[in-house]
Symmetry: C2
Amino acid sequence: MTAILPLPPGSTLGILGGGQLGRMLAQAAAKLGFDVAILERETDAPAGRVAAHAIIGAYDDPLALNALAELADVVTFEFENVPAASVEALMALGVEVAPGPLALAVAQDRVDEKSFLNARGVATVAFAAADSPETAVAAAAAVGTPCLMKTRREGYDGKGQTWVEHAADAAKAFESLGARPVILEAAADFVRELSIIAARGRDGAIAVYPLAENHHEKGVLRRSVAPAEVSASAAEQAERIAARILTGLDYVGVIGIELFELKDGSLLVNEIAPRVHNTGHWTQDGCEVDQFEQHIRAVAGWPLGPTAARAQVEMLNLLGDEAAGWATYAAQPETRVHLYGKREAKPGRKMGHVNRILGSL
Amino acid sequence: MTAILPLPPGSTLGILGGGQLGRMLAQAAAKLGFDVAILERETDAPAGRVAAHAIIGAYDDPLALNALAELADVVTFEFENVPAASVEALMALGVEVAPGPLALAVAQDRVDEKSFLNARGVATVAFAAADSPETAVAAAAAVGTPCLMKTRREGYDGKGQTWVEHAADAAKAFESLGARPVILEAAADFVRELSIIAARGRDGAIAVYPLAENHHEKGVLRRSVAPAEVSASAAEQAERIAARILTGLDYVGVIGIELFELKDGSLLVNEIAPRVHNTGHWTQDGCEVDQFEQHIRAVAGWPLGPTAARAQVEMLNLLGDEAAGWATYAAQPETRVHLYGKREAKPGRKMGHVNRILGSL
């Protein structure tokens, strides 16, 4: 089927991915009157349990993709590693997929991503690609050490990356990451990590949320505070960066852009995520329209909603057993509890988050 | 099974009723990490489409109730006309049902309801019961005309009621309502209709939201504005009324209490609804914890959340074809859209609502 846009309430919206982002997207879509069809790899996933339809299958399973296309006029996703062939298959079946293939391709390869950013006038750390132990050593020497080696594709939450202290160590590091194509990134001498959640509608309209200040541990987000205390210059830079990226990718939907703030106040882009983003969870309790509804609005061709903050919020991720503290959080009047319905509290697994209202704005 | 309280996230919570109130309750429960099982009479109902489990059956079908009890530790409902036998059956199966049988019994019979209120020192209009044409005429004469004749049981949104202009007309009116037991209510000389949404936890704690001012047309709510502009005395009266009712019913959950404000500033209770209430929809965008999450918290044995308003909100019901105006509302930055996923826009049917933010508080 071919989608009528803006997608009217009562239509079915498809989401690839059954995790917490898919769950919160599904809830936002239902609030706007949509039915939701989730394609997820396993039964009993968090998103499928709040959706009208759950299709179980691999993300590149033609039968599963066909079933999704039968139900859904518009399809989006909760994760960036959607196979390009799956997107092509859906589009060939007349489905609108948003964000589109260009955004996915750029976000799936760290070298392509940084090359795209630099070509659009968006600064990043210095970087170099390598695909052998020898080129890895040369690349490390070129960007300077210590530097961070990451696989070009896949990897998230600190997985698939390692520090290289001396250029000569790069060969061993290359092997330790599976001898796959890698990127070597110069260390950023940043004073803090920020992020901006932005959205672009099908009409090209852009809306940005206030910046968040983020704190990671072992590569995993622990805490965000938003709106972050930033200079007017930082806010302007971030908005300009977001606009360049969104326009450059002819983007539709919400994007998460991770930033490094340097001593001199300038911002570098660390990475982009073509989806709703953990550092945007504060918008659920800090803004009138949160990132999940905003994403649904954008992909459904609805007008974007307002992005001003009405409260300053501290978002804390609940990892593994931390979710067992739900009763404590539930008893705090200033704390909003968001739990994902995951069955097993594996160590480090994102089980939920809380948004603490620090003050209204 | 017997419920462990407070009910931990990951548990399944049951809801009788598949309409919009069940849908919004299901979404609130999922946000707190619960799975939801809906018992609804028809497939493809609004609530079942956002829940982990949908059981299709009559509300007094033993098989359906058994299936629900197999899944759910705690059961609540979206409508007051739950058969008493169904509640007994669930309780006999070890299920915690909240609100409890007393609240349902009182709310299901308009005479019992007003008698309960008066016995608790809560004022209502004068009323009299009748169960024949003759007693109807006598009752109309006793309460004075014009008066409002309603069936004692069932009836909502203005259905099952008629005005009686002269006592002699009461016999015909009695027949027109199906010759069922009725109540005759004196006309209230009210200046406006208010309501208060209140909650009581399993620990006996009470929380009340600010009052709403409501506007009905043909017995159907069209518009609420909350917090309403009221005197301190009106707010105090309403809170006292709510506390008396909640405590008197040993209530657990959210209750909606419709009030008449008289010229002298005193409040009468028009009716009570032992459930989340249309006049509380403003809390979704006006309060940190809305009536739906509050109800789930209460029935699950969690602590109640805060009830202060952060914004003044105008809630407009979208009836029938009015929901076709979704695109207009979606384009208004101050308007939040809530649509129920109903398939058919029958005239007068509640298809959704919008909350307009009038100003932050």
